[in-house]
Symmetry: C2
Subunit: 205 residues, 2 copies
DNA sequence: CGTCTAGTTGAATTCCGTCAAAGCGGGTGG
DNA sequence: CCACCCGCTTTGACGGAATTCAACTAGACG
């Protein structure tokens, strides 16, 4: 099946898998780890336009250049396919294509939802929305089912800022304020404990 | 073919085709006119997350609720399909599915590019980027080929603001300033004449 | 000519970004 | 084990870009 034309590969945290503007060489399926998709401007401003979790796809099937770079945020493992081989395989396997189409439609919905956040929400609303979404998406991988109140983010402050279209200072201040207000606890740099989910949801707008 | 299960329908400017959160009843192919996809918050803030031009698709195949409402910005004409019938038809026509997949991937790229604009660009950069993109997308429909310097927007100031994540006042001020600086001419409310494309591209960042 | 909507302009405010400095924590080497 | 260093984060002071609130103007249409 599909497995035959793919090969497993590990990649270290911080390593760049694809560069913005390159002819996309591969398509991949993430098995473990977290990656980011980044669009950057000439002057260095960056916006993270997608966070890739295990079971998500990366790459751009059907012969376009990649419009963003992909970087591993943690050590990651993935199943990589040569793009041409993948395209051919997909063309002859409608079921795979349908699956891909569904995923892509879901991604598009998520991206559009995120546009609302970027364009219209305030800093505190952004942070609150972000934490709630992360608690959901990170719960999938954890042991117990259900949404968890405590989790470890795979990113630092700067990266949170790049996801939300804020500066690192604003991000830090908002988190500190939420801790002061008793909504959160921040036991270590990357750990988040949600202490008042209701209030957080209210804040998220 | 596909035409058999669809029916043509006209819709007036301002009319809402789908409501955010509804079970999407239809899928449609736009033949003429321009529509907007809008996500709105409880307090009335709105963000336009997509502008739909002729030949674009709207709706959400494969049984999810629509995550945004769709409204006609001009009188429009489209070919509407019952969603269930469309889903079935698509499932048995891989070529249609592939076409749909390509379109959706393109839309996703466009959305992600737009996220950079919303999250990281300044007001003037947003306006400049917007005008350039519109001059491109509206050129497709016009008579002559190539990108045109003069075109008529299908939206008012408030809608431009909702696309860019700005207020109507900021939008107006930026346009006025660009006219004063000789980058544009604004012969009437909805007409734009680009007088210095280079400068505009520089501004867009 | 009056009314109505859409757009423009002005002044005051505020939220967020910028610049700068200090704090923390984790790793390394003495 | 402690001292030191480095990167990341926090905190503070300040400034500026964009929003807010409000008044005014320009067209469109009866």
């Amino acid at each position: 099946m599909l497995g035959k034309i793919g090969r497993r590969q590990k990649i270290k945290a911080g390593h760049v898998l694809m560069w913005e503007g390159d002819e996309a060489p591969v398509v991949a399926n993430v098995l473990d780890g977290v990656l980011k998709m980044v669009v950057s401007a000439a002057d260095g401003r960056e916006q993270i336009v997608g966070v890739v979790f295990p079971s998500d796809f990366i790459g751009r099937p059907f012969g376009k250049e990649t419009p963003y770079s992909v970087t591993a945020m943690t050590d990651a493992e993935m199943c990589i396919f040569n793009r041409k081989a993948f395209d051919e395989f997909a063309s002859s396997h409608p079921d795979l294509q349908q699956k891909l189409l569904r995923r892509t439609l879901d991604e598009l919905d998520r991206a559009r939802h995120w546009m609302m956040l970027l364009g219209r929400k305030t800093a505190s609303e952004k942070i609150a929305s972000f934490l709630l979404e992360m608690s959901e998406r990170l719960s999938g991988q954890g042991c117990e089912a259900g949404v968890r109140a405590s989790f470890e983010l795979p990113f630092g402050r700067q990266q949170i800022a790049d996801i939300l279209g804020l500066t690192i200072e604003t991000t830090s201040r908002q988190l500190t304020k939420m801790r002061a207000d008793g909504l959160l606890d921040l036991p270590s740099r990357r750990e988040i404990v949600i202490q008042d989910r209701n209030a957080l949801e209210l804040l998220a707008g």
